[in-house]
Symmetry: C2
Subunit: 267 residues, 2 copies
């Protein structure tokens, strides 16, 4: 990172040029904030905790970070560092969209309560533009009409954030109440549905087995598949319309996802 040479004892000009304590910086503050977040959770993430983590006075933070909100903003931006999306491929746009969604969720899961911070961040920060561009490109080559291609990324991201947020909620609830495992919790909730009065809630009782996701990711995968199929329907529609109007000037292999080789099976 730094090309600093070790200081020779007799070289007075270099003596303590690199001070014993690494200087404070926004970068280091964000690092510490993430450490506190993972250890204590969002609710107990305070400026004082971050300062303590760095062995520094609270007020020292404010020379590098103007407020707690700005600290959140900086933490949010980290989410998009080193996030490279593959080049859009019309033949596999469905899988690529699904992979984007999975990648986004995986990033939000990397730190405790990170989804809370993600939903606070302003979504047009310069750092997110490359991903946005890639995603919009992907939706265009998939054959979506402009107004859908422009909105799809936002819609998908909104869902991902919302999903991660609720996942967080459950995790925190589990953490503070008796620490029972997810399978146990799932079983008891399933029982709750099965035990409902079947005259008033016949369908909840009938579907008790399906009201809770069976694995950690099943529900997310299903949701993403639903959204992708919905998008595909718009692509088909656009392809039909273009085909009917101009006699198929668009490459038919480009638009419309149904029946493409990457159509995933269940799970």
């Amino acid at each position: 990172m730094s090309d600093e040479l070790p200081a020779l004892p007799w070289d007075r000009s270099r003596r303590r040029a690199v001070p014993a304590r690494i200087p404070l910086s926004a970068e280091r503050i964000v690092d510490a904030a993430y450490t506190v977040l993972d250890r204590e959770g969002f609710e107990k993430l305070s400026m004082r905790q971050v300062a303590a983590e760095l062995g520094v006075a609270v007020s020292a933070l404010y020379t590098h970070v103007s407020s707690k909100d700005e600290l959140f903003e900086l933490m949010y931006i980290r989410l998009f560092k080193d996030w490279d999306l593959p080049d859009p491929d019309p033949a596999h746009w469905r899988r690529q969209v699904a992979d984007f969604a999975r990648g986004g969720l995986a990033r939000l899961r990397k730190h405790r309560d990170l989804a809370r911070i993600s939903m606070i961040g302003v979504p047009f920060s310069p750092e997110v533009l490359p991903q946005m561009e890639q995603l919009v490109t992907l939706f265009r080559v998939a054959g979506l009409p402009d107004r859908v291609a422009g909105a799809a990324g936002d819609i998908l991201s909104t869902f991902i954030d919302g999903y991660a947020f609720e996942e967080n909620m459950w995790e925190n609830r589990r953490r503070e109440s008796a620490e029972i495992s997810w399978p146990e919790m799932r079983a008891s909730l399933q029982q709750f549905f099965a035990d409902l009065p079947s005259d008033r809630f016949p369908n909840l009782v009938a579907l008790a087995d399906h009201m809770l996701p069976s694995s950690e990711d099943e529900r997310f995968e299903l949701a993403v598949e639903i959204i992708i199929r919905g998008l595909a329907s718009f692509a088909e529609e656009a392809a039909e319309e273009a085909g009917g109007r101009s006699g198929g000037s668009a490459d038919p292999g480009t638009a419309g996802g149904r029946g493409e080789p990457d159509r995933p099976g269940d799970g």
Copy 2:
């Protein structure tokens, strides 16, 4: 509510049986909390503010409400009071699902920052079960396979909450920064996309007109339509499978939404 008779002046046993000040109750605390929420917003909604609204000491609240979290829970439950869903109609399930989504969003919009509180609430409270039952029923009569019908309500609600939450975020940002109107903000953001370097962000520039929703509800309507089409695709799939296997024992008018009379146009 109460069958209290008017107090006669000479009846000492009834004197002040109904005290001059209406007694405190969880109900009244929730009322006051909503008043404070609308006036001050979520960030400044504190137990002290609520107590002040009621002209009462802070500690008095804690005899009716065990914590601020429980107050949030009670506020959350209010969301579902008097929310009647129409009886599921297989012929119009698409419109009914869309109406459910619109109704949910409308409820979240009824109070400032309400989405923040909605995302905190535990989703299996007894108060929400009737709506859940109606929704699951609707998805079943639409012909969705069980595992999709069981998840669809949760997925849709997650999206609605996430959408309302982000809408809140924007509204608050607008409120605190110069109060510029939404059309103005939209125009400047649109310009932001149009002015991006077109060598690095060709598609964002090309779709600058479509990156922001043109009206308040356009993006939400589109998202709901995408989800409904995705669900419909599962219904079709199930109908085909059932048709191929058992020779069409299921009522063909029940399953599969494509081409039904309520398929909405754009808008």
